[in-house]
Symmetry: C2
Subunit: 365 residues, 2 copies
């Protein structure tokens, strides 16, 4: 079927709730937002979500709803609203899967570069990429730029701003952008490398546009953005209006990932971020400071890479748990189409350049 | 103190977690994102959040952290990220209160009109306002406009698009905007009333800007926006660049409102939405289809109205549970500085104009 979008929800019932009542409530709430018997004309037939299946599992029910595309139009923001906007405020509803109409996927477009495009841009064969996080906040722009240069000399593929670097007085955006991009460019020139610097452009709409333009004008090819702070469709905007590749950060998404309510991480960080235009998506790796399981991480990887109507695949970018000893493990576990994001552990070794070189060697081996 | 922002969190400990360890982890995670012993120079002193108090309660701990303003700069998006960005992905952390530095509040500005400004614009004395929701999706623009006219003739103060009305084929945004605004303007001219039509402008950045401009150019004075879909700072942008008053809708915020993790509704929907520029904030009223308690609703009301460094107070806009019988109850419970949002129940009565008039009368009495 191509004229509907099918969404799959898990329903966890509270006392007094019936599965049919809850399912019917969702189908109305997310479309017409009024009782079926108040709907004029053929609107109940044309616009209300249609319950396709409703089946019991051990501790929940699985509901499939067909939503008419007329309830979406062509906009991803409204699609997100339709899938989970109001029912985010109810209880016991978890959105786990969407069968996407090809027409919408083609319209929204997905990654501009994706896995093969970024690989070609960096001239890197079939191995994981290494991404370092530039930090900490509080350093001056020249001090951050010196760290960028060391990462680049050490051969790190991608050097991204910490997602908390915005426009603070110690290293204002414009000054940091130019200093860091220059530092990486010079290091590349000397080494023949192709390291990229990714400034964090996350900001209010007007500042975001200005930072995207500044990043492009400074010669950056890829930027970091936290779409749950800026709105998901800022990814498409950055891709289409500024021609930049995009690494997406999951800041502020976490409220949705508790048990029995929310959106599955694979659907939000994997599919929705990819469809909206992310070339790479950061997520908290299993075993780190956060709470994703090994299965969740693999599900995100799969969602970012799986065939999806010709959309480019995107790079899973697990953060946490990567060091020289474990690089081989993650390369094996996640495969070559992965960006390994490394934060504190390179800094802990003191000589950033040597530590980067050793880690790159471990990844190449 | 004016050089720090103090945030209060509730900590719910998992097995093996210590309150001090969790508190220290948050202070590092939300600022420098690296272990304290890797921090160069005076950065540990200057940039890391400082634990102010950490006290036990029956089933959790209460933590106050002082964050240096240098970790924020002047941007609300980064402030939100600092308060809860990465730790949204951890477990058992609930952000419940912020002591705002006056310098930031003045910078961000709050509601453009607020309670007294909107009251003056509508020339309405000390009574609650009534807001009707225009629906359902699937109607044509002329059919929706006819409903607008009936609401306006019935004396409804504010007539807002359903938040699911975006740019669907049955009633494309531009056509709906013009038809509905014309209908309300004509009804006002005949009746001498001052009803406002609020189009839903929620969309991707570029479309959002175009819709804000179109709404302004069509003569609208207030619009509806879902800031958790578009990014919180789109409120400020709409206020400053387009001079529009703003009603904010809570779509997609709900993942944050589960027990023991997230952000308190009063802080997010009350304070943060108000500070960002919302003149009115919709929330799900107690007893409706959603899950806020009576205390939560009153806490949101308080946060929207309380004195806050000279920022205008904003209108609590509880949705659900309002009809002719209960109008007096809510007027009593919530006071005159409230917008009562009414959805399905006016439609259920068939004659929208007569139903609106009866409800307005109940509110005035």
């Amino acid at each position: 079927m191509t004229d509907v979008l099918t969404a799959t929800y898990e329903l966890y019932l509270a006392e007094g709730e019936s599965p049919e009542g809850k399912a019917r409530g969702i189908a109305l709430e997310q479309t017409v937002e009024m009782p079926a018997d108040c709907l004029p004309g053929d609107i109940a037939e044309r616009m209300v979500g249609r319950i396709r299946t409703l089946e019991p599992r051990a501790d929940h029910w699985v509901l499939e709803i067909d939503y008419p595309l007329a309830a979406i139009g062509g906009e991803l923001t409204q699609c997100l609203n339709l899938l989970f906007g109001n029912i985010s405020l109810q209880s016991g509803i978890r959105l786990v899967q969407v069968a996407w109409p090809p027409s919408l996927l083609r319209r929204w477009g997905g990654p501009g570069l994706g896995v093969s495009g970024l690989r070609a841009r960096l001239d890197v064969g079939a191995r994981p990429l290494l991404c370092a996080a530039l930090k900490p906040m509080g350093l001056s722009a020249p001090a951050l730029a010196a760290r960028c240069a060391a990462f680049a000399r050490g051969g790190v593929d991608l050097i991204k701003d910490d997602h908390g670097l915005a426009d603070q007085p110690d290293a204002p955006f414009a000054e940091r952008l130019n200093a860091c991009q220059d530092a990486v460019r010079q290091a590349n020139r000397r080494s023949g490398g192709r390291s990229l610097y990714l400034p964090n452009v996350t900001a209010a709409p007007q500042a975001l546009g200005e930072r995207l333009a500044a990043a492009r004008d400074a010669g950056c090819e890829m930027v970091l953005i936290s779409p749950w702070l800026t709105g998901l469709e800022t990814l498409r905007w950055a891709r289409d209006e500024y021609g930049l590749a995009l690494m997406a950060h999951p800041a502020m998404t976490g409220g949705l990932f508790l048990p029995r309510h929310g959106i599955s991480p694979a659907l939000l960080l994997g599919e929705l971020f990819r469809i909206a235009g992310a070339d790479a998506v950061i997520y908290p790796n299993v075993g780190g400071r956060f709470r994703f399981s090994a299965d969740t991480c693999q599900a995100i990887n799969h969602a970012l890479r799986r065939p999806l109507e010709g959309l480019a695949s995107a790079w899973p970018t697990p953060g946490g748990g990567v060091d020289v000893k474990r690089a081989g493990h993650w390369k094996q576990a996640y495969g070559p189409d992965t960006i390994l994001l490394i934060g504190g552990s390179l800094y802990a070794q003191g000589d950033i350049e040597a530590a980067s070189r050793a880690l790159m060697q471990a990844i190449r081996d």
